[in-house]
C-alpha cells in the first residue's frame, strides 16, 4: 500500500526565515453551531479540549482546535489519527446537526521559523502582526499575497501556515521570496 504524500514533497527554503513543508497533517473539519453547549460537550468528549474562543486555538494532547468561524472548527492532529477522530466526533455528535469530515489532504501546512516570521507574514497578510497584537494561541484566516490562508504563531520565532493543497507550491515560493536574506524591513521590535 502506498503512503500519502504532501504537495510540497518535503521542500525547504533557508533564508532570513526558514520555510518548510509542514508534512502530513491530520485535519478534521467540524461544522456545527459552536454556541451550542451540546456541541462543546461533544467536542470536549471527543478531543479533551474546550472549544476555542473567537480567532483562537485550544489544544489537548496531540490535537489543536482552530476557530475558523462561528460554525466551523478545524482540528489538527496526527495524519494517521484523523479517521479515528472523525469517528469519535461523529459518535459524540450523534443526533446533533453537525458535519464532520476528514480533510487531511485538502490543505497543506507550511512551517516558518526564524526571527523574522512576523515580518514575512506581514508582507502578505493585512493583519496586525505586532507583538502584543498577535500572539501564540491566536489564529487568523486571511490571505497571504493572493492566496487564502490561515496562520498562527507557535512561538516568537515559529509560525505555521495552512492553505489549500493546490496552491501550496505557489505559496511556498511566495513565502520563500518574502523570506530572502536581507529583505525584512525590521519593523517589529
Amino acid at each position: 500500500m502506498s503512503e500519502a504524500v504532501t504537495a510540497l514533497a518535503g521542500a525547504t527554503y533557508e533564508g532570513a526565515v526558514t520555510v518548510a513543508d509542514g508534512g502530513l497533517t491530520g485535519m478534521v473539519q467540524l461544522r456545527a453551531d459552536l454556541a451550542d453547549a451540546a456541541v462543546a460537550t461533544a467536542v470536549k468528549a471527543a478531543t479533551g479540549a474546550d472549544l476555542p474562543d473567537r480567532r483562537r486555538i485550544s489544544a489537548a494532547k496531540e490535537q489543536r482546535l482552530l476557530w475558523m468561524s462561528p460554525d466551523e472548527l478545524l482540528i489538527l492532529t496526527d495524519h494517521g489519527a484523523a479517521p479515528d477522530l472523525v469517528k469519535r466526533l461523529s459518535t459524540e455528535l450523534t443526533g446533533q446537526h453537525a458535519l464532520v469530515l476528514d480533510l487531511s489532504d485538502a490543505r497543506s501546512r507550511i512551517r516558518l521559523s526564524g526571527q523574522g516570521v512576523r515580518e514575512v507574514l506581514a508582507k502578505g497578510a493585512p493583519v496586525d502582526l505586532a507583538p502584543g497584537r498577535f500572539e501564540p494561541g491566536e489564529v487568523r484566516r486571511t490571505r497571504i499575497g493572493q492566496i487564502a490562508a490561515a496562520f498562527w504563531l507557535l512561538s516568537e520565532t515559529e509560525a505555521e501556515v495552512i492553505c489549500f493543497r493546490s496552491v501550496a507550491p505557489f505559496l511556498f515560493d511566495w513565502l520563500s521570496t518574502a523570506a530572502r536574506p536581507g529583505s525584512l524591513p525590521g519593523h517589529f521590535r
Binding site: Q29, D105, K123, D173
Partner: protein
C-alpha cells in the same frame, strides 16, 4: 557658475568621494550629496529642457517639489525616466542622462518652439489641430510626441524586487522634521504605537539650515536627541527614505519606501510599498516655498531662496558668486545671510514690501548688504543661465531702474503648507489672508467611519511658519492624536524655540505688479509644463472660470510635480483675472501619490512566477514530466494534450480519443468541484438549488443536475451523488466550485437560514481520476479490491471500497459515452493511484488524455459544456435539457423566471448539431449563421452562432454545435456560416448527439 565651496556642507563627507556620470561625462561628488547638489558642485546648472518650448532649465529646488531636474537614471534594464535629481541620493557609479533634448542638452533644435511661443498659447492643441482630422493621427501627433514629452519609457524588464508590507499603528506621523519628531514624541509618550516616516535621508527637515534653536540647543543637537529618545522607545518605529504617498478611507495610508535605490542590483528590495492602517495620521509635512512670477524666472540660476540656503549649508555648494535675493518675506533675508556667511556676494536684496523691517532685515543691513524696498525684477538677463537682473519698482510696469549683474537669483515668495495628505481623503482648506496660502481647516478634517477626523496636521503643515508656534502645534497634534485613541498621560511639555516670528509676507503674484504682455509672456508659473502667467490670463479671457477646467486647458499643475510650485501662484493669477477672491476660485484636487511612485512598488511581489496563483492537481508533476501542453481552467493548469515527440497537438488529441474509444484512456479530473451538502434538510435544499429533483435520488446513486440563477439562466452543472440519507456530494465544473459553494452559502445564510444544512467545499481533499473506454473495467478489476461488474456497479451508481489497497469512492458516470469510472481518492494518494492505473493498464495501451480529447468526446455525444454552450443568457430548455427541469417541484431557483415570455419564446436560440457539407472543414468557433438578409442597420442578419466545433476522429469528419434561432424546427436545413475571409460555409442542422444515441457503448 555654481561650484563647491572649500569648507562646510552639513551632509557631505569629503573623505568619501563618489564618481558618477551625467550625459556620459564622468563627474565626482561626495557621500551625502544628492544628484542635484553634485551636479551644481560640478558647475552643471543646465539640467534639462522644458516640456513645450525646450527652454534651458536648471535646478530650482532642493527637495520633492523640484519641477525641472528630471533625469533618466541608470542604464539598460535599470534605466528609469523622470527621476528627481533633488531627491536622488548620490552613489558611486550613478549614471544619469538629461531628458527632452535633441540632439544635445547644449544645442537643442526643439528650442525653436520657444521662438514660436506666441503661436503656442494655452489650449494650443485644442485650437490648432482640429482640422483636418486625418492630420492629427499622421502628422500632428507624431510631431508633437517627438518635440514634447519627458523621458523615454524603459524597453527592458525590470530586474529588481519590490514588495508590500502591511503595518498597523495607532499614530502615523508623516514627516520627520522638528514638528514630526515633536508630534511623534508626544504621541509615543502618551503610550500610543507610533510609526514616523520621513521621505528624506535625514531627520530634522530645514531646522538646522535655518538656524533654529530649541530649548537652548541648536536644531541638529535637538533633533539627534529626539531621534535617540524615540528610537529607544519600544512603541516607536522611525523610518527614513519613506514617503507617505496617499491617504485613503478608513485610516488607510500608503507609504513608499526607497529601500534599495542607492545600491542598484545588490539591494534585496528596491522599493517597498507599505499599506498601513493608522488610527490617526499626523501630517507633519512642512511647507513649500513659492516662486515669484517675473520675466525669465525659469532661467538656470533662478532658484528658491530656501534651496539656495540648502545647497550652501547642506552640501557646501555655491549657486554662483553673486546672488540677488528677491523677496516678499522676511525669510528671504535668511538666504542673504547664508550667502554672505559662505563668503559670497549679495549685490542686493529686492524686497517687494515698501517698508521692510524686523530683526532679519536689520541683521542683513548690519552686514552692509544693500536692501531695496518696494523693488522687484523686471527681467532676468541671460539665456542658458542668469547673467544679471533688471531692477524695477514692484508697483510699476517694469521700467528698468538699474541692471545688476549676478549668477544666481534667490526668490522668496512666501511659504505654503503641504496640504496634500490632509486633502487626499477630503480634508478641507482655508485661505489665510495674512500668510497668503491655503492651510488645513482643523474643523473640516477627513473623517472616518465614526464621523471623527482621522488626520491631524502638525507644525508648519498647519499654517504657522515660525518655529515656536509650529512646535506647540505639533506637540498638541501628537497628543491629540494619541488621546483620541485612548492614550493620554497628561499634557506634554512644549519645547521652546528662540527668536521671534517673521513679519507678514506680501502677496506677490506678478512681478512687477503692472507687468505688460511682453513680460507676462516670459513669467513662468509651471516650469515643468511651460505654463506662463499669460496662458492663465488667456484662459480666463476665453471664459474659463473653474479652476479644474483651467488646469486642464492650460496644463497648469498637470506635470509630474503636480503643481507643487505653481499651484498657489496660478490660482492667484486666475482669481485676479476673474476678479474673484482666491478662496472662491479654490484649488484643484490633491490626489495621491504625493510624488510619483514606481510601478514596481505598486506591483509588489506579483511578478514572474508569482504574478498570479496557479492551482496544481496532485498529479500535476506527472503531467509536466509527460510533456503536457497546458490549458488554464480557472486558476488550474490542466493538460490540454500530451504530444509525443514531434506529434502535432491535433494528432495527439486524435490519438488520445481513438485510444480511449477503442481501448482505455485516463483523465485527471481532480479539478472538478466537490461540495458536501449535509443535514436533515439537505435534500430539500438541493431541490431548491438544482432545477431537477434531488430528493428522489436513492442512496448510492448519481444524477446529473443543473443550477440556474434566479433569472433562469444556466450557470453550473454536474453529477450529484447521494452518499447517505442526509448527505450529498455535488460535483461542479472545474472553474465553478468556489462560486457554487459561495452561492449555496449565500442562499443558506440569507434566505433559507431555517434549513438545517451544512456545506463543505471538499474539492481539494480528493484527486479524481476518470478511467474511460471499453477496457476500463478490466484494468480496475486487475487492480482488485472491489466488485465493479455491471450488476454490482451499474451506470449512475457509486461504490466505496479499496482499489489496489487505496481507499476510494468510484462513480460510474460518463462524460464521453464510454464505459467510464471516476475514482475519487484522497489527494495525497492520487498520484500513487494514477501510477498504478498506468502500470496496470499498460498491457491495454492505457492512454492519458487531456482536456481537448475530453471536449471532443463530450461533443460527439452532444453533451454541453458550461461556458461553451452557455454564456449567461442560456436556459436549460435552450439546450434540450428541459427533461432536467422539474415540473413537479413547487419552487427552485430560476423557476419563476423561466415562465417569463422571453424565456418561453419558441424562437429562442436552441442547441443543434451541425455537419458541414465539406466534412474536412472545421467551422471556426463562434462563426455566425447568416440569413442572407440585412437588418435595418444594413448589417447581416444572424440566426445564431457556433458554440463548439471540433474534428471528430471517431466519425472522421467535423462536428459542431450551435445555438440557432428556432433550432429544433430547423432539422435538416442547411445554414450559411460566414468565415473570416468572407467565404460562406454550408452546414446541415442535425441532432447534436452525433455518436451512439442509444448509449449502447456505456451500457455494458
Amino acid at each position: 557658475m555654481s561650484s563647491r565651496l572649500a569648507t562646510g556642507g552639513r551632509r557631505i563627507d569629503r573623505s568619501k568621494r563618489l564618481s558618477f556620470s551625467f550625459n556620459g561625462t564622468k563627474l565626482t561628488g561626495f557621500e551625502g550629496d544628492t544628484l542635484a547638489s553634485a551636479l551644481l558642485a560640478n558647475g552643471q546648472d543646465l539640467v534639462g529642457r522644458s516640456f513645450k518650448y525646450h527652454r534651458p532649465r536648471g535646478i530650482v529646488a532642493a527637495g520633492a517639489e523640484e519641477p525641472n531636474a528630471l533625469v533618466a537614471l541608470g542604464q539598460g534594464d535599470r534605466m528609469e525616466p523622470n527621476q528627481r535629481a533633488t531627491i536622488t541620493e548620490l552613489f558611486d557609479g550613478l549614471s544619469a542622462r538629461s531628458q527632452n533634448h535633441w540632439p544635445s542638452l547644449q544645442f537643442d533644435i526643439g528650442a525653436i518652439n520657444a521662438r514660436l511661443s506666441r503661436f503656442l498659447p494655452a489650449g494650443f492643441y485644442y485650437k490648432t489641430f482640429m482640422q483636418p482630422r486625418a492630420a492629427w493621427k499622421h502628422l500632428f501627433e507624431p510631431v508633437i510626441r517627438k518635440s514634447a514629452g519627458l523621458g523615454p519609457a524603459p524597453t527592458q524588464g525590470d530586474p529588481d524586487r519590490y514588495e508590500y508590507f502591511y503595518a498597523h499603528t495607532d499614530v502615523l506621523v508623516a514627516g520627520g522634521g522638528i514638528a514630526g519628531l515633536a508630534a511623534a514624541r508626544a504621541a509615543a509618550e502618551a503610550g500610543a504605537r507610533v510609526l514616523l516616516v520621513e521621505q528624506d535621508s535625514r531627520f530634522g527637515g530645514r531646522s538646522a539650515t535655518d538656524g533654529v534653536v530649541i530649548d537652548g540647543t541648536d536644531a541638529e543637537a535637538w533633533v539627534a536627541e529626539q531621534v535617540a529618545a524615540l528610537s529607544a522607545m519600544p512603541n516607536v518605529d522611525l523610518r527614513l527614505r519613506t514617503m507617505a504617498a496617499g491617504v485613503y478611507d478608513h485610516g488607510y495610508v500608503t507609504l513608499y519606501e526607497r529601500a534599495g535605490d542607492r545600491d542598484p542590483g545588490a539591494a534585496p528590495v528596491r522599493h517597498r510599498l507599505w499599506r498601513v492602517r493608522a488610527g490617526r495620521t499626523v501630517t507633519a509635512t512642512g511647507a513649500i516655498e513659492r516662486p515669484i512670477s517675473f520675466a525669465g524666472n525659469d532661467r538656470p540660476g533662478v532658484m528658491l531662496a530656501s534651496a539656495v540656503r540648502d545647497y550652501i549649508d547642506l552640501y557646501a555648494v555655491s549657486p554662483g558668486d553673486r546672488t540677488v535675493v528677491v523677496t516678499a518675506t522676511d525669510d528671504g533675508y535668511r538666504t542673504a545671510l547664508a550667502v554672505r556667511d559662505a563668503g559670497l556676494d549679495v549685490p542686493a536684496v529686492l524686497d517687494t514690501r515698501p517698508d521692510p523691517k524686523g530683526p532679519l532685515v536689520d541683521a542683513v543691513r548690519a552686514r552692509g548688504i544693500r536692501v531695496e524696498a518696494g523693488r522687484g525684477i523686471a527681467k532676468v538677463r541671460g539665456t542658458r543661465r542668469v547673467t544679471g537682473v533688471d531692477i524695477c519698482a514692484q508697483a510699476g510696469e517694469g521700467a528698468v531702474i538699474e541692471h545688476v549683474p549676478c549668477e544666481c537669483v534667490a526668490m522668496a515668495g512666501g511659504w505654503s503648507p503641504v496640504v496634500h495628505l490632509w486633502s487626499h481623503c477630503g480634508g478641507k482648506l482655508l485661505w489665510d489672508e495674512t500668510a497668503h496660502h491655503f492651510r488645513p481647516d482643523p474643523d473640516r478634517p477627513p473623517t472616518g467611519a465614526d464621523g471623527q477626523g482621522f488626520a491631524v496636521t502638525a507644525g508648519t503643515a498647519s499654517g504657522p511658519m515660525d518655529t515656536g508656534a509650529a512646535l506647540a502645534d505639533a506637540v498638541e497634534a501628537g497628543h491629540r492624536a494619541a488621546k483620541a485613541l485612548g492614550h493620554d498621560k497628561g499634557a506634554p511639555r512644549i519645547p521652546q524655540a528662540d527668536g521671534t516670528a517673521d513679519g507678514p509676507p506680501a502677496a506677490v503674484w506678478m512681478m512687477p505688479h503692472g507687468a505688460g504682455p511682453e513680460l507676462r509672456g516670459k513669467a513662468f508659473l509651471d516650469f515643468q509644463n511651460d505654463v506662463k502667467v499669460s496662458d492663465v490670463q488667456l484662459a480666463a479671457q476665453e471664459g474659463y472660470q473653474s479652476v479644474e477646467h483651467t488646469k486642464r486647458y492650460t496644463t497648469l499643475g498637470m506635470a509630474t510635480d503636480q503643481g507643487k510650485l505653481s499651484n498657489i501662484n496660478g490660482l492667484a493669477i486666475l482669481s485676479d483675472s476673474l476678479g474673484a477672491p482666491i478662496p472662491e476660485v479654490g484649488t484643484t484636487t490633491f490626489r495621491p501619490p504625493y510624488t510619483p511612485i514606481s510601478l514596481g512598488a505598486v506591483a509588489g511581489e506579483a511578478r514572474g512566477s508569482l504574478f498570479k496563483p496557479v492551482r496544481r492537481t496532485p498529479i500535476h508533476d506527472w503531467h509536466a514530466d509527460a510533456g503536457a501542453v497546458w490549458e488554464p481552467v480557472g486558476d488550474w493548469r490542466r493538460p490540454y494534450c500530451y504530444p509525443k515527440d514531434e506529434e502535432s497537438h491535433r494528432d495527439a488529441v486524435n490519438r488520445e480519443i481513438t485510444a480511449t474509444r477503442s481501448g482505455v484512456g485516463l483523465l485527471d479530473a481532480s479539478t472538478l468541484g466537490k461540495i458536501i451538502v449535509s443535514g436533515p434538510d439537505a435534500a430539500a435544499f438541493l431541490d431548491l438549488t438544482y432545477t431537477n429533483m434531488m430528493s428522489s435520488l436513492k442512496v448510492g446513486r448519481c444524477r446529473y443536475g443543473l443550477m440556474c440563477t434566479e433569472n433562469g439562466f444556466l450557470f453550473d452543472d454536474g453529477v450529484v451523488v447521494r452518499l447517505s440519507e442526509d448527505s450529498f456530494l455535488c460535483h461542479t465544473t472545474s472553474g465553478g466550485s468556489d462560486r457554487v459553494h459561495a452561492w449555496m452559502e449565500e442562499w443558506l445564510q440569507t434566505e433559507w437560514w431555517d434549513l438545517k444544512v451544512w456545506t463543505s467545499n471538499v474539492t481539494e481533499q480528493f484527486g479524481q481520476i476518470a478511467i474511460v473506454g471499453p477496457k476500463a473495467r478490466s484494468v480496475l478489476e486487475r487492480l482488485g479490491g472491489m466488485d465493479l461488474s455491471a450488476e454490482a456497479l451499474p451506470f449512475m451508481a457509486m461504490a466505496e471500497g479499496t482499489l489496489g489497497g487505496i481507499g476510494v469512492r468510484i462513480f460510474r458516470i460518463s462524460f464521453s459515452g464510454e464505459l467510464s469510472y471516476e475514482i475519487a481518492v484522497p489527494a495525497g494518494r492520487a498520484r500513487a493511484l494514477w501510477d498504478m492505473l498506468l502500470a496496470e493498464g499498460a498491457a491495454d495501451g492505457i492512454t492519458p488524455y487531456g482536456t481537448e480529447a475530453l471536449h471532443v468526446m463530450r461533443a460527439e455525444k452532444g453533451y454541453i459544456m458550461i461556458g461553451d454552450e452557455t454564456d449567461g443568457t442560456v436556459i436549460p430548455q435552450d439546450l434540450n435539457l428541459g427533461w432536467a427541469v422539474s415540473k413537479k417541484k413547487s419552487d427552485f431557483i430560476g423557476k419563476r423566471a423561466m415562465e417569463r415570455s422571453a424565456l418561453t419564446d419558441p424562437d429562442r436560440k436552441q442547441l443543434v448539431g451541425l455537419e458541414t457539407e465539406d466534412p474536412a472543414l472545421v467551422l471556426p468557433d463562434g462563426a455566425h449563421a447568416v440569413s442572407g438578409q440585412t437588418n435595418r442597420f444594413g448589417q447581416q442578419e444572424t440566426l445564431g452562432h457556433v458554440t463548439s466545433t471540433y474534428w471528430s476522429p471517431t466519425l472522421n469528419r467535423s462536428i459542431a454545435m450551435a445555438l440557432v434561432s428556432g433550432g429544433s424546427r430547423r432539422m435538416g436545413e442547411t445554414l450559411d456560416f460566414s468565415l473570416e475571409d468572407g467565404r460562406i460555409a454550408k452546414a446541415r442542422v442535425v441532432d447534436p448527439v452525433f455518436l451512439d444515441k442509444d448509449g449502447e457503448r456505456q451500457n455494458v
